[in-house]
Symmetry: C2
Subunit: 396 residues, 2 copies
C-alpha cells in the first residue's frame, strides 16, 4: 500500500463531508486512500443548531452518524480530536496518536470570535456543536428552575449578543420556546425578557433593509427587545455592560456575534486574518499545494474584493471542488477554479416565519418558511438521499 497517496480530511462538517463523498464518487480503486477524522462519530447540521439550543427541536434532528454518510469501504473513519497540524512534517497530531498525509483537507470549521470583549469567553454560551447547544438548552431551563427557588430577576433575562443570521434565528426560537417554558415553570411570560444586542447600526447587516424591518417586526411581536447599534462592552457572570456603561442583568448570555477560523490553523503557522487562511482560487493554502482549506476556516474574496461570509452553502460547494481538485492533482490534470454560485439566503424567524432573498426576489412570511424547510431537506438529500430525508427531515 506504500505507493498509494494518502488523503486526510480533518473535520466532517459541511465542507469535509462533501469532500469525502465526492472523492468516493470520483476516485478509482487504489488511486488514493482517504481518511476522514472528526471529533465525534456524528456529523452535525450546524444550520439547525439554533433549534435544539432553544429547545424547539430535538438534538437527533440535528445530527447524523458519519458512518451513514460515508462508504466505509472507500473512506476510513477516525473518531479523534486534532491537537496539532504540522505542515512541514505532513503530520496530524491527534489527542491519542498521530497520522501522516500526502494531501490534507482542513475543514475544521470556525470558533466564536469575541473581539476581545472581556468576560465573553468565560461567561457567554455559544452555538457551535451538539454539546454546546445541549448546554444552552439545559442552562435556560436551569435558570427558570433556579428562579422559582431564589427569585433572582436576572434569571428571567436572556441576552443574545449579535443580530446576524445565527443570532436572529436563535432569538426567534427563544421567543417561540420561552412562553412554553414559562408555563411549565409557573412563571408569567411577561416577566421574561429576551434582549438582542447588536453593535452594528442594523440587525442582519448586509441583508435587504425591507426584509430586515419585516424580520424585526415579527420578532418584536413575539416579545424580543432589540438594542441595535449598541455594543456589548463586557460580559459578566450575571449580565452584560453595554453602550456607555449600562448594565443589563442576565444570567444567560448567548454570543453569536462573530466567527473566526479554527485556532489550530493559526497554530500550524499559516498566515491568518481572524483565524482564516486566504486560499487560492483552487482552494489551496498559500505555498502549500498539498493542503486545501475549506469552509469557515478559509477566506475567499468575492469579485468585488470583499470576503464571502462563512456559510454552509459555500463550504459545501468548496467541498465538491476540493475533491475534484484532489483528483486532478493525483492525475496531473488542470485544477478547477472555485466560483461561488449564490443560491440565495434564508433566515428563519421561528415557527411559520422567515425572510429570504433568492436572486433578486424578496420572500417573506410563510412562503419563506417553506423555502427554509426545502433548503434543509435539500441538504439532507444531497448528503444522504431519500432515506436520510425521511429519517431526519422536519416536514412540519
Amino acid at each position: 500500500m506504500g505507493n498509494i497517496p494518502k488523503i486526510v480530511i480533518v473535520g466532517a462538517g459541511y465542507g469535509g463531508i462533501l469532500t469525502a463523498q465526492q472523492l468516493q464518487k470520483e476516485l478509482k480503486h487504489n488511486e488514493a486512500s482517504v481518511t476522514l477524522i472528526n471529533r465525534h462519530d456524528y456529523h452535525y447540521i450546524t444550520t439547525h443548531l439554533h433549534m435544539p439550543a432553544a429547545g424547539t427541536d430535538t438534538i437527533e434532528h440535528s445530527r447524523i452518524p458519519i458512518a451513514q454518510l460515508i462508504d466505509e469501504f472507500k473512506v476510513d473513519l477516525v473518531k479523534g480530536t486534532v491537537k496539532e497540524i504540522i505542515p512541514k512534517e505532513k503530520k496530524i497530531v491527534l489527542e491519542d496518536g498521530s497520522l501522516s498525509y500526502d494531501y490534507l483537507v482542513i475543514g475544521l470549521g470556525g470558533e466564536p470570535e469575541t473581539f476581545g470583549i472581556p468576560g465573553m469567553d468565560k461567561f457567554a454560551l455559544t452555538i457551535r456543536s451538539i454539546n454546546s447547544v445541549r448546554l444552552i438548552r439545559e442552562h435556560i431551563e436551569y435558570q427558570l428552575a433556579l428562579y422559582k427557588n431564589d427569585g433572582k430577576p436576572g434569571r428571567l433575562n436572556f441576552v443574545v449578543g449579535g443580530a446576524g443570521f445565527s443570532g436572529i434565528e436563535f432569538v426567534a426560537e427563544l421567543a417561540d420556546r420561552l412562553p412554553q417554558l414559562a408555563k411549565a415553570y409557573d412563571i408569567d411570560f411577561n416577566r421574561i425578557q429576551i434582549i438582542n444586542v447588536e453593535a452594528a447600526p442594523t440587525a442582519l447587516p448586509g441583508f435587504d433593509p425591507e426584509l430586515v424591518e419585516y424580520a424585526m417586526d415579527v420578532l418584536k411581536r413575539k416579545g424580543v427587545n432589540f438594542r441595535i447599534g449598541i455594543p456589548i462592552k463586557e460580559c459578566l457572570e450575571d449580565g452584560v455592560i453595554v453602550g456607555e456603561g449600562e448594565k443589563i442583568e442576565a444570567c444567560t448570555v448567548v454570543w453569536t456575534g462573530g466567527i473566526r477560523g479554527n485556532g489550530l490553523i493559526e497554530k500550524a503557522g499559516f498566515e491568518v486574518m481572524r483565524g482564516r487562511v486566504k486560499i487560492d482560487d483552487f482552494l489551496r493554502a498559500p505555498d502549500h499545494d498539498d493542503i486545501f482549506i475549506i469552509g469557515d476556516s478559509s477566506l475567499m474574496l468575492n469579485p468585488e474584493g470583499r470576503p464571502y461570509p462563512p456559510t454552509a452553502q459555500i463550504a459545501m460547494q468548496q467541498g465538491v471542488i476540493c475533491a475534484k481538485n484532489l483528483v486532478a492533482t493525483l492525475r496531473n490534470k488542470e485544477l478547477n477554479k472555485f466560483v461561488f454560485s449564490n443560491k440565495g439566503t434564508v433566515a428563519s424567524l421561528g415557527k411559520g416565519e422567515a425572510v429570504a432573498v433568492v436572486g433578486k426576489r424578496k420572500i417573506k412570511g410563510w412562503v419563506a418558511a417553506q423555502l427554509k424547510k426545502i433548503v434543509d431537506l435539500r441538504y439532507l438529500f444531497i448528503i444522504g438521499g431519500i432515506p436520510l430525508v425521511l429519517k431526519k427531515g422536519r416536514f412540519f
Copy 2:
C-alpha cells in the same frame, strides 16, 4: 358575619386538605367560616415527588389545583405565604397582609433537617416542593450537559444523603433515569455513579431486615453504590466529606436525611423537638385549645412511647380527626382521641419493583409495585373521587 367563628387552615398538604374537606362535609351552613391558606394554588403529592425529581415522571402528575379539591362556596382559598404566626393575637401574618382567626389548624409540613452538617443547607438539593424537584431535575441534566463541555468527572457522580424511605425511593428513580439520560447525552453509563450514603447501620432503618436486603439487592443491580453506616461530615460545592475524611467528588448532592417541623412554628413560640410540637391526644398544641397542629409539624408518641415517623398516612388521618374535633369544639361536644391506624408501608424501588409491609405480611417485587400504585390511586380517590383518579392517576 361577625358572630361566625373563623377557622383558618395554614398549609394545603395532606393534613390541611383532608381537614378542609372534612370540614366541608360536617359544618352546617353559617356554623363557621373556613379559610385555607397555601403558598401555591396547587396541592402537591409529596409522596410522588421523587419521580419528577429524577425526571421519571412529569410534574403534572404530582400536583392538583386546590380549587379542584375544595368547594369554594364553603371554603375560602387564599394563595399566600405565611410569614409569622402570633398565637397571643390570634393572628397570621402573610407576605402581603394578615388574617385573624378563632381556630387555627397548622399543616405547614416539614423542612429538611441537616443536623448541622456544614454546607448541607447551602449546597445540597432537597425534595420538598414542586419548585425544589424541578430544580433537582434540571440540575441533573445541566451537570450532564456541562460534563460534555468541561469533562469534570464530579459531574457524573450523584450523591444521595440518607437511605430512609424518601432517599431509597429517589435513588431508585435515579437509577432508572440516568441510563436514559446518559444515552441522550452520549455518555457511557458506566462512568456515572449513584452513591447512597447513610449514617445509620442499615438502609431503611426500622424496616423489616429481609425486605431491606431485597431492596438493596434490587438497587445494587440497577447500579447504586451504597455507603451504609458512614456519616456525611460536610457538604461542599463539589462533593461530600464522609467517614474519616474521605472526599466523594460530586456536583450533585441530594439530601433526604431528615425532616424537622416547619421553622415558623418554633418562631411562633411553641416548645418544639426538631421543630415539631408535641400535641395532645386531640391534636391540639399544649395550652392552646384553639390551635391544632397536624402532619410533619406535629409530634405524637406511639403506644410504646416512641414518636411516629412523619408520613402522609398519619397526616391524612389527623386531618380528618382535626376537622371532627373542630366541629365538636364549636358544638361543645366531646373531642375524639386520635388513634393511628397503620395501613402498612410501601417503598417503591423504581419501575416494577417495591417492598411493602402490610400488617404482618411482607410483600416484594411486582406485587408490591402494584400495591404502591393502588395506595397512590386510593389517595387521589379520597381527595378527588373518580374524576381525579382518571386525570392524575398513573396506571402503568
